[in-house]
Amino acid sequence: MNPLSLVVRTTCDFFAWFMIIFGVNVVVHGYMTPGGGFQGGAIIATFAVFFLVAYGGRKMLAWVNEKVYDLFDEIGLVLFFLLAFWGLPTSFFFNFFAKPFTESSVTAIIPGAGTIALMSIAVGFEVSGAISLIILTMYKGIRIFRTESQELETGYER
């Protein structure tokens, strides 16, 4: 996959990081807005796609560390199961952090939703790591079947 033109690369430099911030915003406010772990994680995973399309596969694979995505995936899944089992003295998936709803809890820094907010964050970790890793693995899989000689990638501006 060849790198795209200078315009696309500069746009990627500017806006790719805002994608991550927007995704984290969706994940963290999952308990009160339409959104949550799955949706925000998918938004965060678009960063990998954007970088791969704009800068090309060679630079992406040299820059990214797949173990970070792997760690995100595992941390999210383990945290999710841990929170689910934590309420086991009462029942599986018991919301042990939840506080009764009051008017002040809308603006409180720590939400009263308890494990709902924490599980949203855990699922956001898991989905962002898993989808980014799937994209990278599939891109590397495409490269396996290329049999002709590997010429150096050249962009439009080089």
Binding site: M32, A98, P111, E126, A130, K140
Partner: protein, 90 residues
């Protein structure tokens, strides 16, 4: 002979579909749904979550969400195995 069977089957299927559509509840008026009313009445007070859909997905039906997370993890494992770099034939 085949055409006759096909036409009869098509008519039968059409009649069944029309009959099934006829018994569907009108939009916005579900049948007997006590759980809907329970969630709408109590989710905010019990779980303090402003988004009732999230309260259902992560709390009331959390077991389903564990399954979804496991499905995603299984898909990741399957894709990693499928696209692994194999040995080259010497």
């Amino acid at each position: 002979m085949k055409k006759t069977i096909f036409v009869v089957a098509a008519i039968l299927l059409g009649a069944l579909i029309v009959g099934a559509v006829d018994t569907v509840h009108p939009f916005g008026a579900p049948g007997n749904a006590p759980m809907d009313d329970y969630f709408i009445a109590n989710a905010l007070q019990h779980r303090s979550s402003e988004n009732i859909v999230t309260a259902i997905v992560f709390d009331y039906r959390g077991f389903d969400t564990i399954g979804e997370a496991a499905v995603l993890f299984t898909a990741l494992c399957a894709i990693t195995v499928l696209f692994r770099e194999g040995r080259k034939k010497s």
